[in-house]
Amino acid sequence: MGLLKIALLLFFLLAVVLPLVGMFSRLADPQVREVFGTPAFASACVNSLVVAAITTVVSVLAALLMSWVLCRTAIQGKSVFAVLLTVPMLVPSLAHGMSLVYLLGSNGILTNLLHGSWSIYGFPGIVMGSFLYSFPPAFLMIYDVMRYEDATPYQAADVLGIPKPSQFAHITLPFLRKPLISAAFATFALVITDYGVPLMVGGKVTTLPVLMYQNAVGLLDFDTGAAIGFVLLIPAVIDFLVDVLARDRASARYVSRGFDLKPNAVRDAVGYVAAVIVTLALLAPIATFCMVSFATKYPLDLTPTLANIGRAFTMGAGSYWVNSLFIAFVVSILGTILAYLVAYITARVGGVSARLLHLASVTTLAVPGIVLGLSFALAFKGSLIYGTFAILILVNLVHFIASPYLMAYNSLSKVNKNLEAVGQTLGVGRARIVLDVLVPATADTIAEMFSFFFVNCMVTISAVSFLSTTLDMPLALLVTDLDAQRLVECSAFVSVLILVTNVIEKVVVAAIRRYRHTQQSVSR
């Protein structure tokens, strides 16, 4: 056990702490810090803050609304809506930016349909695009809590004669305070560190990640890139602190009663309308790039064709797809094992090093991909793994480990605390209890962890763009490359390919889960 703890701590030291420390040590040079005094930096800061703040409000409110609709109204097809609302997570953020142009740009489909004369470039575009990819995680965070809320306080309130709106304000909102805060900070950190959407529809609005991209990739000025990366770390670190503090105070509640929702015409109508509007808003852009990917030449010739598939594969989509699948599988397997081991130690073994491990793995949540990627490039260049699949696997592993870790942590914390103690008194070792009892008991969580790694490896751009070679390049990077070669239809098709891959992965995992559950209920 002690050896395992040391090995894991060493892993985080080498893969997280050292690269970041190495990168930020460049800030010691006052010349590097000069960027903080420039007007471009100041305006990028303001832009980033404005965009992230607005998007956070919109995403979290929409997430709250949809959670309410799915948990507190009697509409039909809730599980379908719940799935559809998370689909935008399955495509790269860049694709959202592109699809907004197809849909709402000056010559966009909807723009022409409605004879609109708006311009989405700039703040509106960034906010809309950021909403698309930040809504699903915010929704999941709130929905997962609201779904398990106990109904008895509401029944007590009904008996006491407390009106429904007041119940919402004084029971529901306080109950959701922590998840709302967590979701708000997570959304904020997610939006403020993304460069995919602003690059596509940012107009003249430069945000911090774009500035970092311009400096590191455009001007080859890694020092300035590192300096901006440091600033990008700040909101994420605040998010992390808030989250950790809020999480630790969370009380473990047990459900005693679910809500029995009697039909209510007005409330359910509101529910349907809201669910349909939000779902359409999220899916229309995705539908658009699916359409573009099968157009002969968008927008001049919309005749459907499969030619873009052939072209995309000629341009290497096939081998990049294999690269992505390979990376995603290896990361999902190694990552799940690693996150589970760490969670086992922090949730069930304890001790000082466990607290350190918890901190280390949650900290990775705070490191933006673009920062992580650059720090890896600077730290590992010239090492054995540089330019190989190994570094891509490592960077994805580190980039995405926090959430699966927390999933495992929460689920392992819920499993009976005394199992290992019983094992010890019965003469059964810890490892056996893990394999024979804990793993089966948390199998659903393990599947979820695997899925999380997989999907994110398929869509990520920020962390890998500095690190991949032309041989091990993942598919998502092809989206920008094809766009830069004026092959927008092929580029849209690559997004579709990523989407389809992720959908298949989700379906397979869901099928395996269902199979397991039916097996269990048969034996019952």
Binding site: V217, G382, I393, T470
Partner: protein
Amino acid sequence: IGLGALAGAGGTSSNSVVIYSCCEGIRNETQMTALRQAFPNYDIRMHYITTGNCAARLRMEGASSEADIVLDFEGGYINQVSDSLEVLSDFDESMYCEDLLDPDDRYFPFSRESACIATNDNILSERGIPTPTSYQDLLDPVYAGVVSMPNPKTSGTGYNFLKSLVNAWGEDAAFDYFDALAENVYQFTSSGSGPVNALVQGEAAVGLGMTYHAVSEINEGAPLSVHFFEEGSPWDVYGSGIIQGRAGRQAVHDVFGWLCTEGVRIDNATYVPDQVLVGVSPEIPNYPKDVKYADMTGITDVDEKMRLLERWSH
């Protein structure tokens, strides 16, 4: 953790050659088809890479790069990483136009890529916007929100426009101009192909982009036309070079030798007809002839580029 074992399959056997090309896909394909015919025994792999990424990689990795050869790499960027390139003393440079040559012989010209003001004529007429005839025209409020330009910070094409006007009008006048133009630009795109993409999609009515991009779209039926103003067409040399330490390999030597002769000829005749080779000026349908080039003195000067971009605020 045995991640090291998963190292990529990037083993370099003696007859393999890896080329990083900043050319578009179709140009690469043409080169590859001809290369395979010329060198059936060599294992040649060519990969598209965006200019910025290529530069960032070479800056970071230097001589340990996976690539052996870089192809069609923008002059400003190639100078920024020229430390990582071999001095090309073995090859003959007399065939190239003199104004394209690198005094340090770190690269040979591959293409002369020139830029234009392209317009989507459907959009212009729909909105009743006149076709611009000068840079000053573009400051007219009728162009508000319909102009697209690549960002000089991330795109060589963008920088070409900036540099050409700095040379023509002096630095202050040029920057004043772009500050005013920014009022009408709806987006500074990160890649050089962004404006032409936007024109094709009908997002922009006027785009500052590559001539050959616009012409290839015209030849595919897009309602675009190309225009040049009196300051002349901004242009730049795009070069090829060998990564430090690779020139000794016969395969690399052969392939590079082919690329900077036959390769240039083919590309010049098929895609980018601006003159590269002495006495060779091919024609391509719809490609404007007798283009007046802008004065691009100092376009490959790295320090100058850094100084000017420092001042660029968009």
